[in-house]
Amino acid sequence: MSLMSTARSRVADVVNLFATPLQASHYVELVNPLWSSHKLQARVEEVWDETADARTITLRPGRNWRRHRAGQHLRLGVPIGGRRFTRTYSISSSPERRDGCITVTVKVLDGGRMSGHLVRNLEVGTYLPIGLPQGDFVVPESTPVRPLFITAGSGLTPVMSMLRTWDIVGNMPDVAHIHYAPHRYDVIYGAELVELAARRPRYRYEAVLTREGGDGPSTARHFDRAQLDALCPDWMEREVWACGPQSLLAAVEQHFEAAGRSRFLHVERFRAALAEVPADAAGGRATFVIDGAPVSADADATTPLLRVAEDAGLNPEHGCRMGICHTCDIPLVAGRVRDLRTGDVIDEPGQLVQICISGAAGDCELALTAPAT
């Protein structure tokens, strides 16, 4: 086996020599982007509007895709206005799906550039860069569980992948599912869930429609202990997976901690915590990560980050120190920096930052790794 794979990689080395300085895969990509091995892309096969502001996108991943586990997410890149943006979405389809396709369901967020583009403008036939499946919001494969799912809005998506898998395989466990949405028409996969509950008696589905049925503020129907007791009396005996907005997760976490059942709770967050930007546009704490080791320093809003790094004893690659040569470009990991020439704030993880002319705009983290030779 290892002899075979060694032989195969030798052959690949020789074939790649024909394509130097590129790889053979760069030419394979010309024929079909899904066959390339140097990067992973997916073709948009179908778009389907679930609700007024949520759309399910069916993707056919390229050849070197690795089958996901139900509940995992993937990174999806989309060029908007020529610039590439990357976001993470949960995979809502089952890994058992026959045609090898995966689906993600995207809901328009307020001011969400990426979600707005995906829901309104994405066309079938587009190729999008994707990442391999990631995440540990998964149900153990071997041990039997009695899961309680608490989801809200598009937090339903990773759970949907689990439910669909059990449905396809035919081993639906004893599931209790509480799902929150403003109105019935806002529930993505609404009809499918109702139909599933009718067909699989071991799956119990409770929809909490926070803006329907009764007077009073919608918060009256938000998650609390009494509601949980009413909807799922045996919650003390269940392992819990929760996914949804920050406010719901905070309430759920608080409750299960009070009940001493934190270790039976798994949560999935959709948004990484970003550094706050001070109102007076001051600097922040700049962190440079070199091969996994972080070096931090205080940075004010006007000192170039290159200088900050040097004062902290680092020696990043650089050249002209005036924003011409791009030798000092390094990718942003998290947080915000400001281009001192234009005043534009860069907060897109992965975007290259010219550190010789960029200052901190709040806390920021940059990947200071020597470029590959």
Partner: protein, 387 residues
């Protein structure tokens, strides 16, 4: 004499000029979008298709010529067809290499497409199809040449260290041969560029550290060059079997086409008549606007149509490229008229002319300065386009 500018501008006016150039840059960068992205992606796809198609055409041509493919007797017509196919592949590969090196590679490595945030089309990882390694080139070109453009003793691209292109450079008898080795440089241009970053003085008689550094550079060069040479002169030809030599010749000619073309365009960037050189004193306390002015006076454009500019990697817009080295090259054509108008308004020369004028005066300069003496023709800077 070289620090005397042909114009007498008040420092405040120079700052004003700088401000106007900043505005042009900012407006253009702000308008980048999908059309630009489509341009570079389509160009890269076209270039790769052309390169692969040309290689296949070469192999087919060689096979037809050598009867290797059909094992049948090939008549004179067949041989002619084979040769034509081989020639077509050669021209195609030469063109593909020109596109890859100039409009794509050079410009990507300048960071012109970094704004797209694409993990492949960006200056930190792009490697181009020449014997010159991208890392070496980015240092010598982006840092040294673009920062110290035309400053004597700082910019190693003035005469590329081997040619005498100004009276400021002391003459010695070796320069008598410069018309000859200049021609050799044109033919072997990629090798010249590949070795340009090396400092042979330091390698021979530098400190221990300098020697080690130069040796590492040299080894890096050899690694890249070996892969390139293996591809063009061993691997692809070996696929042609009995037509091995045919493909070696075809690849050699394709590389020659690229060498001569890129040499021609690049030498027209800073050597034609009217281009200014600067004394080190100019860069003391030089402001951003002063840097702009130096780029403007130290570069020359070649006039031509849109297709010519693409083939020239838009280095025919050398002035715009030196003012805004990280602006996507497809925008230079659009910015050029504004720069020229600005020059007219400030009474500055805008050195643009057809290829025959720019290349002609470059060659004349190389021949003239092979001999001792000579007067630099900076004062002849044409204020307006030479038709």
């Amino acid at each position: 004499m070289t620090n005397v500018l042909p114009i007498d501008l008040d420092p405040a006016v120079i700052e004003q000029l700088g401000h106007e150039l900043d505005e042009i840059y900012d407006a253009t960068i702000a308008s980048l979008g999908e059309r630009d992205e489509r341009y570079i992606r389509r160009l890269i796809r076209t270039q790769r298709t052309l390169a692969l198609g040309s290689r296949v055409a070469m192999l087919a041509g060689a096979a037809v010529r050598r009867r290797g493919l059909l094992r049948r007797k090939v008549g004179a017509t067949g041989r002619r067809a084979g040769t034509a196919l081989l020639g077509l592949g050669t021209a195609g590969l030469g063109l593909a290499k020109i596109l890859e090196n100039m409009e794509i590679g050079h410009n990507v490595m300048h960071g012109q497409w970094d704004w797209m945030n694409d993990p492949e089309i960006n200056s930190t990882i792009w490697e181009w199809d020449t014997v010159c390694s991208a890392d070496h080139w980015k240092h010598g070109h982006n840092i040294v040449h673009h920062t110290w453009t035309n400053v004597l003793g700082k910019d190693r691209d003035i005469g590329y260290e081997i040619l005498r292109t100004t009276s400021e450079k002391p003459w010695n008898p070796v320069y008598l041969a410069q018309p000859i080795y200049n021609t050799l440089l044109a033919l072997m241009f990629e090798w010249g560029v590949g070795l340009h970053e090396l400092d042979f003085d330091k390698l021979a008689s530098g400190t221990k550290e300098q020697k080690a550094e130069q040796l590492e550079l040299f080894q890096g060069f050899l690694r890249k060059a070996a892969r390139q040479a293996a591809k063009d002169y061993v691997l692809w030809p070996s696929l042609a079997g009995p037509g091995f030599v045919d493909v070696v010749i075809a690849d050699t000619v394709a590389n020659l086409i690229r060498n001569i073309w890129s040499y021609t365009i690049i030498f027209c960037g800073h050597f034609p008549d009217g281009v200014h050189l600067f004394d080190r004193s100019v860069i003391e306390d030089e402001t951003r606007a002063g840097w702009y002015l130096r780029q403007l006076l130290g570069s020359a454009n070649i006039t031509g149509g849109p297709r010519f500019h693409v083939l020239a990697g838009n280095l025919s817009h050398q002035i715009e490229h030196h003012l805004f080295p990280d602006m996507p090259s497809n925008r230079y054509q659009q910015v050029a008229p504004r720069i020229e108008a600005l020059c007219v308004r400030y009474g500055l020369p805008y050195n643009a002319g057809p290829l025959r004028r720019q290349f002609g005066t470059t060659i004349r300069k190389i021949w003239r300065y092979a001999l001792p003496g000579g007067t630099d023709t900076v004062s002849e800077a044409p204020a307006l386009r030479v038709a």
